[in-house]
Amino acid sequence: MFRRRLSVLVATAALAMGTAACGGGTSSSGGGLAASAKPAGYAMTQATNIPASPTLDAIKSRGKIVIGTKFDQPLFGLKNPVTGNIDGFDAELSRLLAKRVLGDDKKIDFVETVSKNREDFIEQGKVDAVIATYTINDARKQRVGFAGPYYLAGQDIMVKKDNTTIKSVTDLNGKKVSSVQGSTSEQNIKSKAPQAQVLLFDTYTTAGEALRDGRVDAESTDNVILLGLVDKNPDAFKLVGAPFTQEPYGIGLKKADTVFRNFVNDTLAEAEKNGDWQKAYAATAGKVDPKPPTPPAIDRY
């Protein structure tokens, strides 16, 4: 008797948890799982003469370009669990590059790269290029080349949707701000708004939960992460759109292949000129970014 009762109990509990999980799933999918917004037709065409370079030759003989990107960064590189497509601004730029080299934006293999393996993947030739919210800095330039920058990320502020008082980082003085442990976000806030009280949580989502509950007035960290949070909670949060640090995102490629780097820079310049860059942004991060940025100047070093 007891055993039967127990099994009923377990089944009921499992059922309850199952329903709860489903409920959570549907309510949090503000990003739209099935509908991956496709920008309306790019103007980009295949380059008329493609120069000889180790990477470009490899792409041509393979008939496909291999791009390393993030699979878990909403709005930039996120693997759609329903379609298997990679959605986001980084993925769209990859498609533009594929179109430029091969004349077809479907001739891409996406490979997941995470922060720790990006340089290795480039050096070992596992990928032709890395477009993965990849900040250009001098330490990384020792090992890989960077085309771009194609986007200026930076630390920004997220507030509740109905907040109208916080417009820039200095408005955080005297306010409570949440961020995460183990990141430099706190120091950046403190240096710009010394009177802000910073509460550090262990994840970006719990820091966001503190904002939702009104325990803090704002959350501050990299705008790309905040955009992802806004994308998931469009009715609760909004981005202030006043970045106060600068992190230029570049396209990582083999350090020695300057011909390929110039080619990618030309592709970016073309996309920025013909409006494809703007289209790609509008269809991805631009959905939740209140102030669509202008493309940063390309650094042809």
Binding site: S178, Q181, G182, S183, T184, E186, Q187, L199, L200, F201, D202, T206, E209, A210, D213, G214, R215
Partner: protein, 214 residues
């Protein structure tokens, strides 16, 4: 180790937060423990059932999860306690379940004749507990309560998940700035030992003081 000695004031503020949190939560855990233990040995079946339910649900849920549910869950129904108060309540309530079980075992160690004698001279159930059984029970449970105190002290570090600014959080902030994890967390470990070793000695002293000569 220079990074540790250069930031003793950061450690100190975290240390005192941890001390305050530890003492306040321990007090709560003792109160909760006494109430729940009394319920568990009460002659009334519903009280026993409720006590058992409390112990088994609270003791068998990770403290981290309880902290989360309390801090983020209760605000959804309009109850927003501060970080520190949330920590005191949850850490106290959680360890209270363990204190209750320790006390219950202590009551079990008091010979049945004591309670029977107390009842036979006309004491009520609560009087017999208060004047006869619990005082003797407390003596036998000093070592396990000491263990719970030390566990509680270390578990206060979980307050960092709800943005408490304790000793662990102080070390974590230093590490974010200086990226010298080993000396910085070694410093935190020493600070915890400064707190736990004397308390272990204190419990040993109490144990000897209240020991029953048998």
């Amino acid at each position: 180790m220079g990074v540790v000695f250069g930031h003793l004031s950061d450690y100190a503020s975290g240390f005192w937060y941890t001390v305050a949190l530890t003492l306040a939560s321990f007090l709560v855990s003792l109160l909760v423990g006494i109430v729940i233990a009394t319920m568990r040995i009460s002659p009334a079946a519903p009280a026993r059932a409720a006590g058992l339910f409390y112990v088994e649900t609270v003791r068998n849920t990770p403290l981290l999860v309880l902290l989360f549910l309390f801090f983020f869950g209760l605000t959804k129904v309009g109850l927003a306690y501060s970080i520190f108060v949330s920590g005191v309540i949850v850490i106290g309530a959680y360890h209270g379940a363990f204190v209750a079980e320790a006390l219950r075992s202590g009551v079990g160690a008091v010979s049945k004749g004591q309670a029977e004698a107390a009842r036979s001279i006309g004491l009520t159930f609560s009087q017999s507990l208060r004047y006869v059984v619990l005082p003797q029970a407390f003596r036998t449970v000093v070592p396990p309560i000491g263990n719970i105190f030390i566990a509680l002290t270390k578990n206060t570090s979980l307050i960092t998940v709800i943005a408490g600014v304790d000793l662990t959080s102080a070390a974590d902030r230093l590490n974010t700035t200086y990226a010298q994890a080993i000396p910085i967390f070694f410093g935190a470990a020493v600070a915890y030992l400064i707190l736990t070793i004397p308390s272990g000695l204190a419990f040993g002293w109490i144990e000897r003081k209240v020991a029953i000569a048998r």
